[in-house]
Every structure is written in structure tokens, then in C-alpha cells.
């Protein structure tokens, strides 16, 4: 079973449009991270959320953490071709023997000029 589910799996948007990617956990989250990956490259750290209700922004990307819903959302405003790539959420998730870090299933974003 997947510890972190992302939706949608893939997204194709027109340049300039807004979009939202969701990351949902079935268990308690202890820190939620967002990464971006381009083909042939490593993961690029975007931002980290630690507290319920926390919201962070970097340029046109905003991420929020809803601790009660065990969910985070990543919102891109006025998307650009440079935003294209695979977005991955990652989180420390509680296991019986302690926390372990998991990645989500990934969301592939294509931005059409």
C-alpha cells in the first residue's frame, strides 16, 4: 500500500493557468516536504511544512499543510513552461517502530506554451 497518495497523477495545463496538486497520507504526518524532479536530474527541494495550518510560498508556488486532514496541497499560480516536471511530496510517517520517510506517487505536470 502507498503511504502517500498524490493527485492528480498527471496534469496538462495551458501556460498562465493556476493548478493544485494534493498529497494525502493515511497516517499521522511529521513534516511534509515538496520536491520537483526533471527528467535526468535529481530532486530539487521546494519547501517544507511542519505545523498544521502552515503555509509557505516561493515565487509562484504556495504549499499548505492541513494536519487534521493529513493532507498538503501545492498551488502554482500563472503556470509557466519552467514549472513543468514531476512534483513529489515526501513526509515522515509514523510507524509502529518509529518514523520513516516516504515519498508520494508523484504528479507529472506539463505546461503548454
Amino acid at each position: 500500500s502507498q503511504e502517500l497518495e498524490q493527485s492528480p497523477q498527471s496534469l496538462i495545463v495551458q501556460e498562465g493557468k493556476n493548478l493544485t496538486i494534493n498529497c494525502t497520507s493515511s497516517k499521522t504526518l511529521y513534516g511534509l516536504y515538496w520536491y520537483k524532479q526533471k527528467y535526468g536530474e535529481g530532486l530539487i527541494f521546494l519547501m517544507m511544512l511542519q505545523k498544521g495550518g502552515e503555509e509557505k510560498s516561493h515565487e509562484k508556488i504556495t504549499a499548505k499543510l492541513d494536519e487534521k486532514k493529513q493532507q498538503s496541497s501545492l498551488h502554482i499560480t500563472a503556470s509557466q513552461p519552467s514549472h513543468a516536471g514531476i512534483y513529489l511530496c515526501g513526509a515522515d510517517i509514523s510507524r509502529g517502530t518509529g518514523n520513516q520517510f516516504y515519498f508520494g506517487t508523484g504528479t507529472s505536470l506539463t505546461v503548454i506554451p
Binding site: Y33, G42, L43, F45, L88, F101, F103, G104, G106
Partner: protein, 111 residues
């Protein structure tokens, strides 16, 4: 600041052969991670080091995979012998506190 370095970037081997990957983390980062990312999936943690000690290797297939981090800096991940299902990108990451910084990965193809 130099990022996480990995080599080689690409490797093609035949099944049952051995292969080793190298990772040089960001200077000063005590924690080092190795991940396996199969095409179409998110990365899966194989092993986590804190300095030169193993913190978590619960998902490492220990019958064929091994990793070491001598002197608490560079690390090597070895597969011996390789299987077809080991074809994947192997990512190394390091962290000082919470955020992990990733290298470019080594793309392995097992034929």
C-alpha cells in the same frame, strides 16, 4: 555551495554482474540517504546513515545490496549480483537538519 555528487551517471550491466555507485554529500551534512526510484514510482528509501552509522536499512535487500559510509563522508552502494528488477535510478541525498538535498542520480539498466 557544491551539491550532492554521484557517479557514474549511467550504468548498463548484465544480470548477475556486480555494480557500485558512489555518493559525495554536501560538506557538513551528517545524514546520508540512498533511494531507489523505479520508473513511474516515487523514490524508496534503501538506507539512511547518520555519520558512519546506519539509522534505517529496513528496506534494503540485504542478500544482494550493501552500503557503507566510511569516515562519515562519502558513501558507496553495491549490488551483487544484480537482477533485472534492479533497473532503476539510484538517488543519494544528504541533510543537515530536515530538508534533504538530492544528487542527480545514477541510472542503472540491467540486461
Amino acid at each position: 555551495e557544491a551539491g550532492v555528487a554521484q557517479s557514474p551517471r549511467y550504468k548498463i550491466i548484465e544480470k548477475r554482474q556486480s555494480v557500485a555507485f558512489w555518493c559525495n554529500p554536501i560538506s557538513g551534512h551528517a545524514t546520508l540517504y540512498w533511494y531507489q526510484q523505479i520508473l513511474g514510482q516515487g523514490p524508496k528509501l534503501l538506507i539512511q546513515f547518520q555519520n558512519n552509522g546506519v539509522v534505517d536499512d529496513s528496506q534494503l535487500p540485504k542478500d544482494r545490496f550493501s552500503a557503507e559510509r566510511l569516515k562519515g563522508v562519502d558513501s558507496t552502494l553495491k549490488i551483487q549480483p544484480a537482477k533485472l528488477e534492479d533497473s532503476a535510478v539510484y538517488l543519494c541525498a544528504s541533510s543537515l537538519r530536515e530538508a534533504q538535498y538530492f544528487g542527480p542520480g545514477t541510472r542503472l539498466l540491467v540486461l
